[in-house]
Symmetry: C2
Subunit: 225 residues, 2 copies
């Protein structure tokens, strides 16, 4: 009857998802969470209660959850694992950036601190993953720099394509085929209404990007002059 206090893979995935929703929306609401984890809202609701019992989140019924400091540390630990693994698979094994997310999703829960350390050392303590997402440091510092969804830019606005959702292989393949990658400078030249395509210039060539794709791409705007 040892009340094992084991943190399961499921709990880790919830912590990670809550972290990401909190960055985006300031809190994690039940259905957004359910959506992200691919589970019914009922299940997510139950699990949030469990995370609260474990001291990982605070929440009040009907108004979403927020990570505690302990929960935040857990989330960042898992995110560090995930992003290091993605980068490792790309750099060392030459896997493509649309495959590595799924691999990392499973390996992240099973990576020891020992092996994490070796991977980080081998990669030279990297700070961003293949999708442009920042990798938390060993001490779990992270800077989430402010970005805007590409779909929200107006014609004339410029910036750097910084990161892209790692969970849609098809989108990633589409971008790779056109040679578009995080770090690229861009300028929006035109945009059609009703979630229509965006016309974007990347070092010369203008690309037409559909609404869904544009929403998955984050841009760091050039500072106003």
């Amino acid at each position: 009857m040892v009340h094992e206090q084991l943190i399961s893979a499921a709990v880790e995935d919830y912590a990670k998802a809550i972290y990401e929703l909190e960055v985006r929306d300031g809190r994690a609401r039940t259905s957004a969470l359910a959506d992200r984890i691919s589970v019914t809202p009922a299940s997510a609701s139950q699990m949030v209660k469990r995370l609260a019992e474990l001291g990982l989140v605070s929440y009040s019924r009907y108004r979403g959850a927020r990570l505690t400091e302990k929960g935040r540390r857990l989330a960042l630990e898992v995110i560090r694992h995930h992003r290091l693994l993605e980068l490792f698979l790309v750099e060392e094994f030459g896997m493509s950036w649309d495959q590595v997310h799924a691999e990392a999703e499973a390996l992240e829960h099973v990576l020891s601190e020992q092996v994490e350390e070796r991977i980080a050392a081998r990669l030279g303590e990297p700070v961003v993953d293949p999708h442009g997402d920042p990798i938390p440091t060993v001490t779990l510092e992270i800077e989430e720099c402010a970005t805007r969804g590409l779909e929200s830019l107006e014609p004339g606005e410029r910036g750097v394509f910084t990161r892209v959702s790692d969970s849609e292989p098809a989108m990633l393949r589409f971008l790779a085929e056109r040679g578009i990658a995080p770090g690229d400078r861009l300028e929006v030249v035109d945009k059609q209404p009703f979630d229509g395509p965006v016309f974007v210039r990347f070092s010369g060539a203008v690309e037409v990007l559909g609404g869904g794709l544009a929403r998955a791409m984050r841009v760091r705007l050039d500072p106003e002059r």
Copy 2:
């Protein structure tokens, strides 16, 4: 209602353990299995029944289990993962041979065929792991060559130290400290009764090895002349 036929990590561990017991004893009896997996005999008994439902073992009550062809393939798949991972961690990350078993025990269930392939390629399709255990090929061939426990050799017998149980870090550290490794030639020079120590010559030096250690070490005997 797709009858998902998901093979869990627990089921994989049972298949692997049954395989190893079958090699040693010809079949896997409930308590040996329970012992190896560190569960109660009641639990092992239940799980053997489940494996049977999954078509992985055949068994008759009270007389142990044997893998079906399907079960054997599953076991060898997991063993391939395990041993490739151990070797990878030793070769690429410089981890010591007493640490890698625990790491591999968890990673083995989560390694995709893709990544398995890359690891095997990187290591040059290796055939033995750091403990001298054979690695099944991609097509799951394995040759389990006949060995004897070092404790069973009589003074005067010679052979090659071939493999050692990977699950006892302390023993592995002990051997490493003395520079004893799989592949070493040896000759038993003396042996004390009652599970007592064995005196073994390795390239010059004679080592005194306790009964427990000797039992964990497997030797391929020189052919009789």
